[in-house]
Amino acid sequence: MAENLKALRRRIRSIGNTMKITRAMEMVSAAKLRRTQSILHAGQPYAEKLQELLQRLAGAAGDSDPLFARREAGRIAIVVFTGDRGLCGGFNNNLLQMAERWIKERGKDNVDVVCMGKKARDYLGKRGYKILNAHIDLGGLPEAPLARETANELRDCFLAEDYNRVFLLYNCFISQAQYEPVVEQFLPLSPDEISEEGDGDEQKKGLHAEVEYIYEPDQKQLFARLLPAYLESMMYITLAQSMTAEHSARMMAMNNATKNCGELIDSLTLKMNKARQAAITTEILEVVGGADALKG
């Protein structure tokens, strides 16, 4: 009995320690989530302005740029955004399973993968997918140079006709408690995507249309210069999205773990108290039994 009590006490203590760790991790993730969220927010004006400029030029320049070129069949590249670390619920696994399904549907041999994050590299590398490039140790905060480098690399590959289509697979951050794996087409660009706009902008566009601009250099060249910047910005926002989702996923997972620890401690404490009481009862019975025996 005493043995059992001791073991229970030890288990409660060890779970208590685990709880301290998960609670600390939850708080760290919450702080990182706030940071990435503000970065995501701060990156919006750039993306919006860029889109606005592209819309203005789209009419004049049309979709003649090679980045719009549609080539059927041929090789595909997909960028898979995961985290470097685990302990974040289904964040990495769900995405990687989706990646595997997606790639298999299009034929394993037709798809090259660019991995963002250690988890993607390890998982897909082990399963024999062709990895074009892997960026690891992302550091938990989105970095513009990395996004630029990746976007440019893919753009060059696309223009060299190494790949006919490029996709992004990432966890889209919806709210603090929600994220969803999505696939988006990165290249070729679709003209609709660039000219797509919200209802609120209609009036604004009407205003712009009347103004005669001075262009330097001409509209076509400007458009061609804006497109790479647009791709970079798209990559950067995607990276920021994925990281924000990662931190929110980890925060949730750790929150659950802390809660489970608490429940486990409660039930173990109850068990321990029952065991203690049983031990005391047995002891009393023994004493009473002994006293009775002496009397008799």
Binding site: G43, Y46, H208, I214, E216, A229
Partner: protein, 93 residues
Amino acid sequence: MAKTFKLQIVTQEKVAFDGDIESLVVPAENGYLGVLAHHAPLLAALTHGRVTVDTGLRTLEGEVNDGFIEVQNNTATILTSDISGDFAKNAAN
């Protein structure tokens, strides 16, 4: 006092400058380009060089590597992937 116009410098990571200024010089593709209040609508690509902003009270300088400038309706917007110098520090300006 000279006439002022609005300037916004937007980078990929943040809004580096937002305020009223008197004059602006940017490195456009075909040479440096000065902008004063009530400039005609303009859309230009930028190249590597120095951006100089005069707010009337002080002069701010920074360097860009690429980017675009748009001027319309007495508002100038500089879009660049990154800007160094005074603007890197004055993030909250």
